[in-house]
Amino acid sequence: MFITFALITLLGALGMLLQKNVVVAGLCMVAAFFGVAGLFVLLANPVAAALQIIVYTGAIMVLVLFVIMMLSSHQEESAAVSHPVQRWLSVALLAVLAFGAVKLVFASPGVKTLAVKGAAMPQAMTLQTVGTNLFADHLLGFEVAGLVLLAAMIGAVALTKRNL
């Protein structure tokens, strides 16, 4: 199961990068997010999986819509002139980032709980636990995020509607 979802995620992400057509690339991204949602289910966190699908794939749809509206999306984009310096720089940056990410994952205490089997296994996440955690332990972060989103929304309205 893990291999299946991991493959869906990776192939989706690869497809998104290699695809010349913007709309098809967006759909590949949807596939990648689906794979991630499946991985969340395997990690006993179905709430995160559901939210992943609702929030992220919904957001991509809006992205695809904008692409259709603003670009002539049936034409494939011709490749830009490549700069070898940029390419090598990006590969090096990617290697450093990947190394850091892997190190961070292995150092986190969450890895040890993955080895736990039987009755000691943690319960699957429910919406109630998410809610309690959010409002009891992370209330400040939650409120700040809400405020930032509200500001972004008002900013978007102000920018697009010049004469209100």
Partner: protein, 353 residues
């Protein structure tokens, strides 16, 4: 159940899982096919016509035209399968599946009957057992995926009418999803859980304790949003025959069109099942504490098919909205109503009701 499983050389759990798969997917699919006939007969009834009554098995058995879906299916299979020259071929083929799969999957979490115990095992009447952690977030997530079928079909056809239909319908779905979700959140709040079995249990067996009586405002919002989500009249902007030829499925023919059409009816079934579960007590039988299993299934089916009929009824009664009216209704009527509903019930709960 145990005996049946041992006859098939499997464990009861697996046998029941397979049976559920067949019941849910086969049931929804065949009901959807049947509903194409119900729609045509219903339309004829409302418009004082006769409707399809000629199709007959072996040229003899007519049963009021019930063989019509079968004949339609055969006809669709033998039609020429056209793909427009400038279409994006791969996506053009993919789109009917993208439309159909979410439509069928949405039903998986809805309990269609009371859980029963047989031979020491408990059997649940829902494809995903209660306590799976997804609960009613699952149909919301899958319902959101449905728009991709329409959008991909519209874009890949490379046709102006198709893209107009697709854009309209995706805009509708995005704007109505908010009001719908807030209505569902209110139910989560009052039920104290988000698993459909918990929502049904919280409603009980007395009809005046069902959510339709407790949250009439939420019901109106959810019901309206379901029409927008299923792309049915009065909100069928994806098709809009009189304005944009046939909208997103203009270029589709033969079995591919059939799949697109069927997915709409599968959506209709899932939507009616959701309405029955959320607002009409699901499988609960009025005034019966612990109904027999078959009676609970029958009760659920009656509620679901009633709402499926309401979808047909409204389609042939109301005219189509204009696009700006639809957006006006969605953002300026449904969303505030939904918020009022949420705040009112939150206030009531804070008062200790």
């Amino acid at each position: 159940m145990d005996k049946l499983a041992s006859l098939l050389h499997t464990s009861p759990a697996i046998a029941w899982m397979v049976a559920k798969l067949v019941i849910v997917f086969g049931g929804v699919f065949s009901l959807a096919a049947l509903w194409t006939w119900v729609e045509r007969r219903g339309a004829a009834m409302i418009q004082d016509r006769i409707g399809p009554n000629r199709a007959a098995l072996f040229g003899k058995i007519k049963i009021i035209g019930l063989a019509q879906p079968l004949a339609d299916g055969i006809k669709f299979f033998f039609k020429e399968d056209l793909v427009p020259n400038d279409a994006n071929k791969g996506l053009f083929w993919l789109a009917p599946f993208l439309a159909l799969v979410p439509a069928l999957m949405g039903f998986a979490v809805i309990p269609f009957g009371r859980s029963f115990v047989s031979g020491g095992h408990e059997y649940h009447m829902a494809l995903l057992d209660p306590g799976n952690g997804m609960g009613l977030l699952y149909p919301l997530a899958i319902g959101g995926m449905a728009v991709y079928g329409v959008l991909v079909a519209a874009w890949s056809s490379n046709n102006k009418w198709a893209i107009l239909g697709g854009m309209r319908s995706s805009a509708t779905m995005v704007s109505y999803e908010i009001g719908m979700s807030l209505a569902v959140v209110t139910i989560f709040m009052t039920a104290g859980g988000y698993d459909p079995s918990e929502v049904i249990k919280a409603q009980g067996h007395l009809p005046w304790a069902w959510n339709i009586v407790r949250q009439p405002l939420g019901f109106i919002v959810f019901f309206t949003c379901m029409f927008a989500e299923t792309n049915r009249l009065p909100f069928d902007f994806a098709e809009g025959e009189s304005e944009i030829v046939a909208g997103f499925n203009t270029e589709y023919g033969s079995m591919k069109f059939s799949l697109l059409a069927l997915s709409e009816y599968c959506h209709l079934m899932t939507a009616s099942a959701l309405i029955a579960t959320l607002y009409f007590g699901g499988w609960q039988v009025p005034f019966m504490q612990n109904p027999p299993v078959m009676l609970s299934v029958a009760s659920f089916l009656v509620k679901m098919l009633f709402f499926a009929w309401v979808f047909v009824w409204i389609r042939w009664t109301l005219p189509r909205f204009r696009y700006d009216q639809l957006m006006h209704l969605g953002w300026k009527a449904m969303l505030p109503m939904s918020m009022v509903n949420l705040v009112f019930h939150a206030w009531r709960m804070s008062q200790g009701h």
